[in-house]
């Protein structure tokens, strides 16, 4: 036992029970002996620990840490790094995502000293992984090779599918690829795996069959019509209805003709107009309901036949139904819009438009509907969308702002921004603080003066003072954004 161990044994047990045995090879310690054993112990312990500390040997370690990989991209400027540091210390998620986005846009990398903090943060927010990894550059990749916690962030995406271990997303992605390149191969895989999956997964995986369905898929899809899950059966029917000449499509078209007919009516004595006429007591085969079509209308003012027609529309799509009724697509939509039942069933029409990416109907609905859902914008081209922003910003400013904020960091038009800000000044609690910060990133610089005018408005209302606080924060975000944007490359 070493002298230190001896001392510690004695310290733990007490000198009454055990006194350390000091070898004669340390006469200097023996010299410290006194009549009192406690005093002797304390003196000897002090000197021994000092000798141990003062005489510590150095160790050699020939190995080291391999140097960092060479970085070819330029680093973010010192001033911008200070901004990033502030963003990280204050936990400002909105500004962090923006900073990383701009950093990648400018093809810059963050300086290495903040890379650990960023990688640690990303472990908790894997959603932002790809842009963050890019912004961390070679220093991040190098640190990933050294730290097992960060290594996982740098693991390449799964290339070979492992049905046992792969996530649903990866499997879906793999199946979609198969569906694009060799559709029959995708069906073979689905036939093999579907019996082992639960209903929710079956539904997710079968969704890939929506991609260009053909007659070759029919047998497989028909086999799934006996699936236990109602949702799976509905999906299968939807896909079968898309395939030209399938029994499902034929059945739906026949039913459509049974429930709705087109009559020509004279309009202003000179022209004729096609009007939809729904059969009040139409009888349709029971097999139609097995596709998932609801049998009875639960709305007082909606006929069963109307409900069936709208549901069949969602299966077949506007183009096919219009053609079957020998109407123009726009004419058919006008017919539907004139029905008093339209308001009740408009959600079905909107979902059909989105499902079939029907741009013509989407535009028409955005104009005609009183409260057109903002989701219809999603299928429009950027140019078409711009035309609707101003009017929507007057009726649905929050929804529009949310929609615009989803689409990158593009600045909104000044007039649109003003409508949104004016609405918020009257209803500041409709959104949370984070919304304001995010919104500020999308506001054009011109709105700064508008924001400043809000700051100087006299209003004792409690809500307005909350809004003024948010305005102050928005001004800060805009100024910070300008600093980041003007940062030296």
């Amino acid at each position: 036992m070493s002298h230190i161990q001896e001392m510690l044994k004695s310290a733990l047990l007490g000198t009454d029970k055990y006194m350390p045995a000091i070898d004669s090879d340390l006469p200097v310690l023996q010299k410290l002996s006194t009549e009192e054993k406690e005093s002797t112990f304390l003196r000897q312990a002090n000197l021994l620990f000092l000798m141990d500390e003062a005489g510590q040997p150095l160790r050699k370690l020939e190995t080291g840490i391999p140097p960092c990989f060479e970085e070819k991209r330029q680093e973010v400027s010192d001033q911008d790094m200070q901004q990033l540091n502030t963003i990280l210390t204050t936990g400002d998620e909105v500004m962090f995502e923006y900073f990383i986005e701009i950093c990648n846009q400018k093809n810059l990398v963050v300086q290495s000293y903040l890379v650990p903090a960023i990688l640690n943060k990303t472990q908790d927010h894997p959603k932002t992984l790809a842009p963050v990894i890019k912004a961390c550059g070679e220093a991040g990749r190098w640190l990933g090779t050294l730290n097992k916690h960060w290594e996982v962030l740098y693991k390449p995406a799964e290339t070979e599918i492992d049905w046992e271990l792969g996530s649903l997303e990866t499997r879906k992605k793999h199946l979609l690829e198969q569906r694009k390149t060799s559709p029959l191969e995708a069906i073979k895989i689905l036939e093999k795996i579907l019996p082992e999956e639960n209903a929710a997964n079956r539904l997710e995986l079968l969704d890939i069959m929506r991609l260009n369905p053909t007659r070759n898929d029919e047998i497989f899809l028909l086999s799934l019509q006996k699936d236990k899950s109602q949702k799976v059966k509905y999906l299968v029917s939807e896909i079968l209805a898309q395939i030209e000449g399938t029994a499902t499509q034929q059945m739906l078209l026949t039913t459509l003709m049974q429930v709705v007919s087109v009559k020509e009516e004279r309009h202003l004595l000179i022209s004729k107009k096609k009007v939809l006429h729904f059969q009040k007591d139409a009888q349709i085969p029971e097999s139609v309901f097995s596709l998932g079509i609801e049998k009875i209308s639960t709305f007082k003012d909606v006929l069963d036949s109307e409900l069936w027609c709208f549901q069949i529309l969602s299966f077949l799509g506007p183009a096919r139904v219009s053609a079957a009724l020998q109407m123009e697509e726009d004419e058919f939509l006008q017919g539907l819009l004139k029905r008093p039942s339209f308001k009740r069933l408009q959600d079905l029409v909107v979902s059909t438009v989105r499902k079939f990416n029907h741009i013509l109907w989407a535009k028409r609905l955005l104009v005609e509907m009183e409260n057109a859902p903002i989701e219809l914008l999603e299928i429009l081209s950027e140019q078409d969308k711009q035309g609707f922003y101003l009017s929507i910003s007057e009726t649905h400013p929050i929804e529009l702002a949310n929609f615009l904020m989803k689409e990158g960091y593009r600045e909104m038009k000044y007039e649109v921004a003003v409508n949104i800000l004016d609405f918020l000044s009257k209803n500041p609690h409709r959104v949370q603080a984070q919304f304001y910060r995010k919104l500020a990133l999308h506001l054009p610089l011109r709105t700064l003066s508008r924001l400043q005018s809000f700051q100087h408005m006299e209003n004792q209302n409690h809500s307005f003072s909350y809004f003024k606080n948010q305005v102050n924060e928005m001004i800060r975000v805009i100024e910070t954004k300008q600093l980041i944007l003007s940062g030296k490359k």
Binding site: A11, G14, K17, F49, L50, L58, K60, I475
Partner: protein, 437 residues
Amino acid sequence: MQINQEQILKLAPDESSKKAGQQLAVSAKWVVKCMHEKALWGECQGSGSTPYKTIIDLQNLAFKCSCPSRKFPCKHGLGLFLLFCNQQNVFTAKESLDPHVAEWINKREAKSESQNQPKEEKPIDKKAQQKRVDAREKKVDAGIEELSIWLKDVVRMGIAHVPQNPYQFSKNIIARMIDAQASGLAGWLKKITDINFYQEGWQLETTRLLANIYFLGESYKNKNSLDENWQKELDIQIGWTISKEEVLTQPAVSDQWMVVSKTIESENNLTTEKIYVYGTNSNRIGLLLNFYAANQIPKQLFASGSMFSGELCFYPGVIPLRALIKQQSPEELNFKEEMGITRLNEMVNLISASLSENPFQKTIPFVLSKMKIVLEDNRWFLQDETHDVFAIKNTEDLCWNILAISKAAHFSCFVIYENKKVLIHAVWLNHKFYSIL
């Protein structure tokens, strides 16, 4: 004045001030923003009708604000300074100071000058003074005697039970030492409660502290047989204070001082600020120790990584470390290629020498150059060019930060040795300074 956002934020008294300061670093919030080589000033529109007037002394960093906040610096001071750091272009450059700014700055300058002037000595009643000293010495001697008995009792019974209630273990004797006006000894005893008793090694640390305290008490008893430096050293260790005036009579060391570390600890309404400065020419390290009671305003504000020219007077002692600033003026940060020690064996030799010279020195600061950080079996080390390594005390997260900063290349650093390990406080390389703690 060269100061960055991180350094400004380190001046904030708390997290909420930091956040509030950042929110005020907006040009639109300031109706007046002016700059001059001596000061910055601005007027911030708050909720009231009159804007708050904020001034920052750039020569000898200090803040003044007309807001009612008792925090120092307040959010307006931080906000204005951050705005200056981020957007200097929004400030109006002034050739002369505004009257209210000039008044404050002149007052500060005058005060600083008067402090440097030797004060008129008041007549001292030497008899009464000696009487007070004698009375205190008696109290201290009695306290040390009692401490000695307590320590012997502890080692007689053994320390196995200490982890069960470490606070209770030393509570009474600490109170007794405070009564005996031996606050230094009370401070040593408090270190026992700071030991992590859940971690292996507490036995060694506890025994070492007990033995050291006993040795200190015994040394104090025999101090009259020692030289003057040792007598001063023991007085300080026991808790005798030395007046600032006396320290300022010591020979001054003139140098360009780099602020290599600034740490703040708060306990029972008392804030202790430790600022380590490194003389880039003399290679001397000084510790500026400041104590603030609640709401007390710091006299000087230093940011880590900044530099000043000035004279330091060191407290007397065996190895003088604590110092006072006699005179100072700001200086641009200037990194030398090589600072301090470049070999770890030299550091180990200095540790041995320091401990031999002053065994009561528990921490020893060093400035090291050409160091690398290395990892072996989840343990971090400093490594020099000869591949000698020395254990690091920093947490794992901080070690990864140091590695990321250095990219496995050589760097300079400020470290504090304690108990066979070094704690890295700051790292600098490629002309950039990084605070680690």
